[in-house]
Subunit: 455 residues, 2 copies
Amino acid sequence: MDSVISHLKSNFNTYLEELKEYLRIKSISTLDANRSDMIKCADFVADKLRHAGMSRVEIFQTARHPIVYGEWLGQPGKPTVLIYGHYDVQPVDPLDLWHSDPFEPVIHDEKIWARGANDNKGQNYVHIKSVDAYFKTLGTLPLNVKFLFEGEEEIGSESLTSFLKTHQELLKCDSVLVSDTSMYGRGIPTITYGLRGLLYMEVEMTGPDKDLHSGSFGGAVANPINELAKLISKLHDKNGKITVPNFYNGVQKLSKAEKENFKRLKFSENAYAKEVGVKKLHGEKGFTTLEKLWTRPTLDCNGIIGGFTEIGAKTVLPSKAKAKISMRLVPNQDPLKIAKDFAKYVKSLVPQSVKLDVKMLHYGYPAVVPFGSKALNAGAKATAKAYGKKTVFTREGGSISIVVDFIKNLKAPVVLMGFGLDSDDIHSPNEHFLLENFEKGLYASAYFLDEFSKA
Amino acid sequence: MDSVISHLKSNFNTYLEELKEYLRIKSISTLDANRSDMIKCADFVADKLRHAGMSRVEIFQTARHPIVYGEWLGQPGKPTVLIYGHYDVQPVDPLDLWHSDPFEPVIHDEKIWARGANDNKGQNYVHIKSVDAYFKTLGTLPLNVKFLFEGEEEIGSESLTSFLKTHQELLKCDSVLVSDTSMYGRGIPTITYGLRGLLYMEVEMTGPDKDLHSGSFGGAVANPINELAKLISKLHDKNGKITVPNFYNGVQKLSKAEKENFKRLKFSENAYAKEVGVKKLHGEKGFTTLEKLWTRPTLDCNGIIGGFTEIGAKTVLPSKAKAKISMRLVPNQDPLKIAKDFAKYVKSLVPQSVKLDVKMLHYGYPAVVPFGSKALNAGAKATAKAYGKKTVFTREGGSISIVVDFIKNLKAPVVLMGFGLDSDDIHSPNEHFLLENFEKGLYASAYFLDEFSKA
């Protein structure tokens, strides 16, 4: 084991240069303009898997972005771990808020800065390199490894979802290892056992059939911006509860044990408010911030647009206004059922003077991984060794819809071993990843393969 | 008189070609990119005034866009009319909804199609040509004429407002003639005697100090889009009344005579709803549509933007959301007082978890011109002759803030002699102007000069 770790240590700067190359590829999955970058990025991953010693590497075409698969099954009788990552990234707007080019990684303040530095290229690349280090030093792995990289995580993992259904034999494994979550704090090794689900909707309100002069028509013709604002304002009640009918059906009360676990984490509301730059926190009455973030469903507008939005004034009564509205879900909420209830509900809220179109953009189920599995324990041991501290167990507010599908299709426990920090600005301008976490991530990955091979 | 009218008739096609040239100039006053077009357009107007026989033409520089002045004072002892127009136009977005280039005028369906075709180039050009026709046929005018063209009407007429204060002697006159309003219906000669005022505000809501991941932070950090929507939804009560404190102070009740005048206009709510393409009309309870449009103050969002607004999904909890909110005002509302009340009120509505910045973009006072003045009667006679029908008196929902300043600074009655139709799509894609109204406008202008010279 020591030789693997020391190999990882002495090759750190080489890995960092390779990561930069990975980050230079503009693999934004949601934009059609970046289609060829997606192909380039899948090729990059496949190439690195080949170099890391995988005996079989294959790129599977899908309806949208390719899936990259790699395997080395040279330890029959030993467990098999499937390592998941996603090579796609979020869009980069607003571009003017970045301090450097999002696709030209730079290193300063002991961090690497670029879109995808944390989410997910920085986090997934550690696994490719830890496997590589085993082969370079020991010439073998202590267990069987499968890699599965997708390019649609940021847009709902549609292709991988069906791939999982049709490739259960290929992907068969004893645990799934995913590094796409956050640590509880800097230097605190963390295993996450719960994720929220997601339902992403878009609503478009139409008033008059064309833009009108707000002076000549205002006051007698419904304004779709005003009406959309009214609609959005009705989606929460005054206690911050979401008003969509049946929304909270099935939502579980927090167990006493979990409440106590949360208390032990000594979360500081003040530090958190300071970190996000607000004077006061917000949200559903009757819950602590950790409970709100990890265990309660929420509803946020992710975007809104309508009318004249340039600098200056235009006295227009617009024809249309549009909003993207997403909900984070918790066990046992069903996104598809809620999508129907949501559509019916919002349509019932609008007056006859406007029209409303509702569509679902994507969704993912919530997941909670049961405590006590061997894989989870191996993850806790591995991260504790890498960071030299006791590992904490957390839940997380974000969604990795595919985790639910892993559990459902592969019947294997999923280990969420994150190396990111909430302050890494993923999905925001100036995304970054601590070099310290890239390094410890390499070690944790190597330790996990060792620990799980003995589990 | 007959020779003037027949000259106008036989030169109609030439005038139309000149109007096209005028419309090709992209004089969008609100966009910095069009600064040089504004200068070009002012030069065009000055040139046409010189050709129309004005003995003095001058371009006045201002802090923003030039003012064009022209005069012919060859009839001492006779009244002086000041003819006002604006050479600036509205922006053209959304460009993809135009059937032809907004700045390449085309003629079909007996209409001319271009940005500014009605508002205001088509409407103001008739006056330059009617004066021109007098000189070409009779070699003189029956009264004294002053022309005043500005380039900031669509953005609040700031420069002209101060120009009026400092040039009262230059602009001294017995009436002001303005063609920038709509006719009550096709073929119905119309004099407008009331206009609403305007207050145009912009509010910017800030939540977290940067864009955040809506999964990791949603539910504990206030979302500026959701909060802005709540704020907007509170600006009207359930009866459609505006909730800004003191907003309705001074708003006059409609007189019995005016109510009866409105009834005589036999307004069809159904035809109006069909025209704007809505199933149902909307607005303040207890008022007819004409009353809402012409005599009641209103509040409309003219634009809103925040978060991710491209195609697809981005799970962002945005830092900022912004809205443009304008109010149409009626006598005796004071826009500056309301701007203060509005700012104070909206700030009181937001929770401590967000910040709100409020600024005023521009404003204009409402105006009602008293009945019975000679100028108003001359206007009614002139339009009746041009259209061969009895003239109706209306009010209008839009604002021409400068009209109030004319009344205040020049102490002269303002004749609002409009040739546009509400269906001309001013401020919208596919703005157009009926050739029939361009033609009758030429006659009405010539008749007005004759009628007012005898008044």
